[in-house]
Amino acid sequence: MAAKNGSTTIEKEQIFGMAEQEMEYRVDLFNRLTKICFDKCIDKRYKESELNMGENSCIDRCVSKYWQVTNLIGQLLGSNRPPM
């Protein structure tokens, strides 16, 4: 649009493409984290719709450990930037 020539347009597309991928990455991370901590922490008999105390503290620790695994594997993959 506001670009002066074809090459700049492609550069701009790449910047927007990168931003989009960054966002998709975070959404994907959040969704996987949410799913796996639900699987690990929540009683599937659904006797009530509230989270009980045990579930709540399990969730907090699950998120914290998932975060650490993300960082640990990020280091192994040799990425210099933090995973978010």
Partner: protein
């Protein structure tokens, strides 16, 4: 998904800000539609196992309601913890 998760837009020129904002809106809509589908899939999978009738019975309906409510509360709590970690809050035992 919280819009604040997706980074800072203030540094962009006006035109790009509009475009970036539209992109974020689209991602949020897509994410919420997928979340809807995955919530239905999960609660159906956990609560419905008997196919002798065409309609949900009371017990299945109750199970689905609790499952969905529980998942949404869970998701909010994960979102809060996730945001804290994103902001670099210290995490100790």
């Amino acid at each position: 998904m919280d819009k604040s998760m997706l980074g800072d837009l203030d540094s962009l020129p006006e035109e790009d800000k509009i475009r970036m904002s539209a992109m974020i809106d689209q991602l949020q809509i897509r994410d919420s539609l997928r979340m809807y589908n995955s919530l239905v899939e999960r609660c159906f999978s956990d609560c419905v196992d008997n196919f002798r009738r065409k309609s949900l019975d009371k017990q299945e309906e109750t199970c689905v309601r609790r499952c969905a409510e529980k998942f949404l509360k869970h998701s909010m709590r994960v979102g809060m913890r996730f945001a804290e970690l994103n902001q670099g809050a210290a995490t100790q035992d």
